[in-house]
Symmetry: C2
Subunit: 366 residues, 2 copies
Amino acid sequence: MKRRDFVAGTLFAAGMSACDTQNPAEEINLPVSQDIFEWNMVTSWPPGLPGLGIGATNFAKRAEKASGGRLKIKVFAGGELVPPLEVFDAVSRGTVQMGHDSSYYHRGKVAAAPYYTTVPFGLNLNEMNAWLYYGDGLDLWHELYAPFNLVPFPVGNTGVQMLGWFNKKIQTINDLSGMKIRMPGLGGEIMQRAGAIQVTVPGSEIFTSLKTGVVDAAEWVGPYNDIALGLHKAARYYYYPGFHEPGPNIECIINKTAWNTLPEDLQEIVRVVSQACNLDMTSEYMWGNAIALDQLKMDPNVELIQLPQEVFDELRMHSIEAINDLSQKDDWAKKIEQSISNFMKKSSANQKITELAYLNMRINNT
Amino acid sequence: MKRRDFVAGTLFAAGMSACDTQNPAEEINLPVSQDIFEWNMVTSWPPGLPGLGIGATNFAKRAEKASGGRLKIKVFAGGELVPPLEVFDAVSRGTVQMGHDSSYYHRGKVAAAPYYTTVPFGLNLNEMNAWLYYGDGLDLWHELYAPFNLVPFPVGNTGVQMLGWFNKKIQTINDLSGMKIRMPGLGGEIMQRAGAIQVTVPGSEIFTSLKTGVVDAAEWVGPYNDIALGLHKAARYYYYPGFHEPGPNIECIINKTAWNTLPEDLQEIVRVVSQACNLDMTSEYMWGNAIALDQLKMDPNVELIQLPQEVFDELRMHSIEAINDLSQKDDWAKKIEQSISNFMKKSSANQKITELAYLNMRINNT
């Protein structure tokens, strides 16, 4: 092992870079700071929620371990410290240092924010990450949140969600007329444009609302999360795919004043842990959904139904209108929409001959 | 900011955990070690190769930054320190501390190793990660490599590759008969079972071999890497999808003796950086392939052709035979194959109603 003890105070790392042509090192001052940061992270999730909630806890554990205990993050479930939908404000004000939520919860304050969760008929998870990390997605996001004194990072993705649980069938677009549906965000707005009635119901009340007919249909996430809420006992038809949430990214937001107090190594630990957690949550969903779906398929009271292509296409027309309206009202939305659609056109051609062609040939013919 | 200066020598982090119910902290000894580790990483990649090579360099940069300069990794291109295909041996022996390569390069030594790159008709990238991080994939891998004194981590994935560049068309399985094809690993073995002749050609010589007719066909990776080698100027037919490499995982291997010298925080930094780099490389490929394919589509001398489903299915029969043979010869291969196929059955059902259904509806109807 080429191991040497450190001599305090020397610019050892910078000295090393002279003999290293492949990795031009930045100048790093050793020793590393021993300062301890005790941060609070508020989230929008029920305690221990699989996927989303576990992702927040994992973030804290891994940041603490990777920092040797110098970055200690205490995680609060939604409502424990601030209400689930007020994470953005609490972190922006500096009441807490960090938040873990979905950007589309604060579209009232930042009209373009839903682009950083997911938009109907938009990017899937792999495309979303490509755009964030290799397109200008992440840079634009940092700019978008700067006026709120926030630094955002992607920390997870559920993959394509399910359209949801329905007690009525959708055979044509007309079947949506008057249907009371729990679907937040742009998806719900599109359903409304198609004649449905958008009803606001917190996650914890979906089961009862469906069961008692307060709503005719409700979306939550997918098999892994839905089975935990017992939604398969409240409605019969499980529709797919979730055109409204094709690749929902989860956000971690950090108060910028707090961020600036972190030494460079801890800032990098936060960046790296965010990206690791992003993949980790996706993997948890891919695994958990496959297992949960397998259970649901054995339930004789559950019918899996694909949304008819004609209905999908008509909803897409409504979506194009909704997104055009948003672009006209908001310059940021326009800018981000342009960036995404430039990429999506090229990406569709690529997905078609790779992931899509392969899965079609592997799955549809077995 | 809740920031406190550290008092050297106290078990500060452990003390904190008393008031933290959600994140039971492990006992961490502060201050963090200031020891510096200078490691060498050998790779199988040409210098600066997009995707694979950039992934290795990124790993080193991020580990150095996140560790505050305490873990310095010098990256060597294939052949600089050891030949590209001898990374496994060099790290196993302890000649260097780390390697960055593909596990299927050493299937001569570890018959089950290809499972940790990709196997024909197997998992795609999202499924591969689900199995690694949430199934028993990663644990089995650590067991498999333990006798070689190696600790492995996933550090990237190219996504579904292209089948490759062909100067002859494949209309039926008989067209493969006598075709000289550059396709390493199990994919090439399957082509051979179908009548083709597997030819070994290093990456750097693919262009010339194709151009001069030494081979009739050759696979490399996908548009992003292939365009850089100029393969579109050496063959006309660009076949898809790459049934032989549906979700190739890239490995980082660490000499276990070296690994054991790292303090816990640096070990966690390596784990986290690996997982972050895994997603990062995938994102680079998703982005780079979309851009490169767009360029290739404008080239009148390139024809994109989908492998006929009948040929795909016949090759799958050969693949099942090849994998059965491997399982009979090697207990590890049998164990891993079982673990993967249990998951893949459930995962196919899940992919079908999520990623696949969505992409089909979004892409095929536009």
